[in-house]
């Protein structure tokens, strides 16, 4: 899927609003904010799946004709006869005790259902992110401050890569490299060879985006006095790039992490479908169609948790990488309004 510039400014969020100068209070505030986000995400899911016309029991039964007794049994088993606020309260009660519930459609505990699919999706995400990072660093380092035509070519390739729909790219890759050339498996088998094409299809657009940001950062840093000083001291160009500049250029990339995770998770849904890979994405699409509330809710909860944790980590790591941010007067001067 094409990357949506939706989650753009996550780090401007309240999650990092608390001042770093009062660690204990800040941590508490953050934890509170995180709980609110998780609660909100699950509540939206609950509302959405109960708003769907037709009722959950019909979705579970599907289009088969069942007797009234069996219908009643299903309603009873899943406590669908209770008022919505009771179902809502009970769900949160179970959640607080760490019980994610049973999937309506798969008949297994939600944790089991997710556990069965998580490995495959995790591998895909890891492959996609790994490809994106490596490709971005290599392209950015190879093209930063180089002659105009090299940068021009890279910039063109990057912007085209962002524009190509990932599902189309996936189909093209599959057709050429699996169906025609037989270099890679046609269906998502275990093992690394089955991961290559999906990882490329998933990671290409983010790689192009990262490479742009990274090159921009590199070129900015390379103009700074401390690099000139390093060069004057006889440090070789490549060494400069990798040792000094990259560390600074990577800063904007870190702020992108939260957004990237979201883009990768969204992308994985489509890529799993294109490459016939089992995984959380495919399962989620099916679960939403079948109104399998406990399953969808758990997936939303996990996504929100990742969002919260990633934002926390980014904010914690950021000052460590950039000493300048440790100067209190430089730390987010425009956040005063919060």
């Amino acid at each position: 899927m094409t990357v949506i510039p939706a989650a753009g400014t996550r780090n401007r969020s309240g999650l990092r609003a608390a001042s770093a100068r009062v660690p204990a209070a800040a941590l508490l505030r953050r934890a509170g904010a995180a709980v609110v986000v998780l609660w909100g995400a699950v509540t939206i899911t609950f509302a959405a799946l109960h708003l769907i016309p037709g009722g959950i029991v019909d979705a579970i039964i599907g289009q088969s004709r069942v007797s009234p007794e069996i219908r009643a049994q299903i309603v009873k088993d899943y406590a669908l006869d209770k008022p919505l606020y009771v179902q809502y309260a009970e769900y949160f009660g179970h959640l607080l005790r760490g019980d994610l519930g049973h999937s309506y459609n798969q008949g297994v505990p939600v944790a089991t259902a997710i556990g069965q699919q998580a490995g495959s999706t995790f591998a895909l995400l890891l492959g996609g992110i790994g490809f994106a990072l490596v490709a971005a660093v290599v392209v950015a380092v190879a093209t930063a401050n180089r002659p105009r035509w090299i940068r021009g070519t890279a910039a063109t390739a990057e912007i085209v890569s962002v524009a190509v729909p990932s599902f189309w790219l996936g189909i093209l890759l599959l057709t050429v490299f699996s169906f025609q050339l037989h270099w890679f498996p046609a269906i998502g088998a275990g093992g690394l060879s089955g991961l290559v094409l999906p990882a490329i299809a998933l990671g290409l657009a983010p790689a192009a985006m990262l490479s742009q940001v990274l090159r921009q950062g590199l070129e900015r840093v390379l103009d700074e006095p401390f690099i000139t000083t390093a060069r004057a001291r006889g440090v070789r160009s490549a060494g400069v790039l990798l040792r000094h500049a990259l560390r600074h250029a990577v800063m904007p990339v870190i702020t992108l992490t939260g957004w990237l995770i979201g883009a990768f998770v969204s992308g994985a849904v489509v890529i799993e479908s294109v490459f016939s890979r089992q995984g959380l994405g495919q399962m989620t699409v099916a679960a939403i169609a079948q109104r399998d509330f406990p399953l969808v809710s758990a997936i939303v909860l996990i996504s929100a948790l990742v969002y919260v944790v990633v934002n926390f980590v980014v904010d914690a790591v950021y000052p460590l990488l950039d000493p300048r941010l440790r100067r209190p007067e430089a730390a987010a001067p425009r956040e005063r309004s919060e």
Binding site: P5, A6, G8, V37, R148, A163, F167, T255, I288
Partner: protein, 296 residues
């Protein structure tokens, strides 16, 4: 180039489409590229408004005797599994793609601007509440949120637009809020306040117009992204319903035939790619122009 990586810079850097800004070289600075992009967008708009200028063939006319025919003088881009003219369907599909991209972006822009101004101007409590709400929406991956919304609202063009708008709104809200806070501190606003202007006057006459410029440019690029995301929704079967000619849906339905006929899958893919590309380049060009003006 700010000497410190302050909050604002982080906002800007983390807005992906903005990252290209200032990289010193991109397609937006390459004049033929910009010209081509604007030309392509002009053609798209013409096709959306007056499709018969380009093709007089009925895009939904099935012809069982001429299915999956390769590109020829009669059918420039060949025919699909229904014997329908792919070129005619692409031309018709332009309207839908532009509609989805524009409508979703306008909705998100309006909604995001209102929320952003509210957050910036509404005091501490409002700001916190809005921030938390935006966080909640941002914490659910975009596509997952759209899938949930479409499950509630049902598939179709209108609901795809609503879904796309909902997931892009928080981004605009954050940027608008940042711009408003930035401009609020600007010298001319201090002057306006000193002159005794009321708060609403300041907001309407100064804050909004100044904050909106950069955001509008951003939205241009957002149109391209929304078209891309919209096509992936159609690909998943959640966009406009058949037999409506929509690029993502055309691509999706052609998959099964790809091993024997490449044209039904290649041309819609190219159409999506070129459209997103042209709009992105045009948006970047506008961005450079706007920023150049602000600086001078």
């Amino acid at each position: 180039m700010a000497p410190t990586v302050d909050g604002e810079a982080r906002v800007r850097a983390s807005w992906p489409v903005r990252g290209i800004r200032g990289s010193g070289l991109n397609l937006a600075r390459w004049r033929p590229g910009v010209a081509l992009s604007f030309a392509f967008i002009a053609v798209l708009i013409l096709a959306a408004l007056w499709p018969h200028l380009f093709s007089s063939t009925d895009p939904n006319a099935a012809d069982i005797q001429h299915t999956l025919e390769a590109p020829s003088a009669q059918h420039w881009f060949g025919t699909d599994q229904n014997g329908r003219d792919i070129f005619a369907r692409l031309v018709t599909g332009a309207r839908l793609s532009l509609l989805i991209g524009l409508a979703a972006s306008v909705l998100a822009l309006v909604g995001g601007s209102l929320i952003g101004v509210l957050a910036a101007q509404g005091g501490r409590l409002v700001n916190t509440v809005v921030n938390r709400l935006l966080d909640i929406f941002l914490s659910i991956p975009g596509l997952l949120l759209v899938l949930l919304l479409i499950a509630v609202l049902g598939p179709g063009v209108r609901n795809a637009i609503i879904g796309l708008a909902v997931i892009t709104t928080p981004g605009y809200a954050r940027v608008v809020r940042g711009e408003v806070i930035r401009i609020r501190g600007a010298v001319h606003l201090e002057a306006a306040r000193a002159l005794g202007w009321s708060r609403p006057q300041v907001v309407v006459r100064h804050l909004v117009p100044n904050a909106l410029g950069p955001v509008l440019v951003l939205a241009t690029i957002g149109v391209g992204a929304a078209i891309g995301t919209g096509s992936s929704l159609s690909f998943l079967g959640l966009g406009p319903q058949a037999p409506t000619a929509e690029w993502g849906a055309m691509l999706s339905s052609s998959r099964a035939y790809f091993t024997v006929a490449w044209w039904p899958a290649i041309f819609p893919g190219l159409a999506i790619t070129f459209t997103v590309l042209a709009i992105t380049v045009a948006g970047q060009f506008l961005q450079l122009r706007v920023e150049g003006r602000t600086r001078s």
